[in-house]
């Protein structure tokens, strides 16, 4: 047997393979299903603008924070103005 015969035999075998009998039903179902929706140019631009605005706002809010420098004043503790706890001790004794 020569190579042409092998090729013809193989091709005849493949030609015997039949498609699924419900292929046409499947195709019609595919056609009737809604196709992928393509966004309009304006919609795409609006989304892009929204994203850009969100990024810029985030950067702006982030740079607003600044570290506060606290100037600590020295505390003057006036012992005489502090609550006199001795009073409570005297009351409890009574």
């Amino acid at each position: 047997m020569n190579t042409s015969n092998y090729i013809d035999q193989y091709i005849e075998k493949e030609k015997q393979i039949k498609a699924n009998p419900f292929l046409s039903t499947r195709i019609m179902a595919g056609i009737q299903a809604p196709g992928p929706k393509k966004a309009s140019l304006w919609q795409s631009m609006a989304v892009a603008a929204g994203l850009a605005l969100a990024v810029v706002s985030g950067l702006a809010v982030g740079t607003m924070y600044s570290e506060r420098v606290q100037n600590y004043a020295a505390l003057n503790i006036n012992d005489s103005s502090m609550e006199n706890l001795n009073l409570y001790y005297n009351l409890s004794d009574e």
Binding site: M1, N2, T3, S4, Y6, I7, D8, Y10, I11, K13, E14, K15, I17, A19, N20, L23, S24, R26, I27, M28, G30, I31, Q32, G35
Partner: protein, 184 residues
């Protein structure tokens, strides 16, 4: 009803008329796709993709050529695109094929040695066809699977009849070279 009449019907809003077109040409589309991909399920997927694409681009069919010519072009292009995608997954495919062969062989009634020899021969033929250039492969498939004349093939591939003959000749020579070890 001719293809052109059905198309006019579809263009005027009768979507159901498309089913007539599908039933008329689905076997041809499936057979051509099978020639490229050699797997029934993939050929069915390609057929679905082709008809959906035809339906959606119906307005682009001007009627200058036969509807079948236009349809063949779409099948060939879709099949070639599918092969390009498939090439990336080739290593997975070969592992799957090996597994499939192991399981399918067990249910075969033929002599196992004979079956193995036939399978090996089929694999070699398939590999040889797949190794042809796009144009040689397309011309060969359209001639052998669809039994089209060189004139019809030339119209589909949008080349001259002489070029078709050249592609077919080179395809035959390349196949003979690659399959020579089979003959011994």
């Amino acid at each position: 009803m001719t293809d052109h009449e059905i198309i006019d019907n579809i263009r005027s809003g009768n979507t159901q008329a498309f089913q007539l077109l599908v039933e008329r040409h689905q076997e041809m589309v499936f057979r051509t796709a099978l020639g490229f991909v050699h797997v029934k399920e993939e050929a069915e997927d390609i057929a679905q993709e082709v008809f959906i694409s035809v339906f959606r681009s119906m307005s682009q069919f001007t009627g200058q050529s036969e509807f079948s010519t236009w349809l063949y072009r779409i099948v060939v292009n879709t099949s070639l695109n599918q092969l390009r995608k498939k090439k990336r997954q080739e290593w997975l495919q070969s592992a799957g094929d090996a597994l499939t062969q192991v399981f399918e062989r067990a249910t075969d009634d033929k002599n196992p040695e004979q079956t193995m020899l036939e399978e090996e021969r089929d694999r070699a033929v398939r590999r040889a066809i797949d190794s042809l250039s796009k144009k040689q492969r397309t011309a060969l498939i359209l001639q052998k699977y669809d039994e089209l004349s060189q004139r019809e093939i030339a119209e589909i591939m949008q080349i001259s009849e002489g070029a078709v003959e050249q592609h077919l000749q080179r395809a035959r020579q390349n196949l003979q070279k690659k399959l020579a070890p089979l003959v011994g």
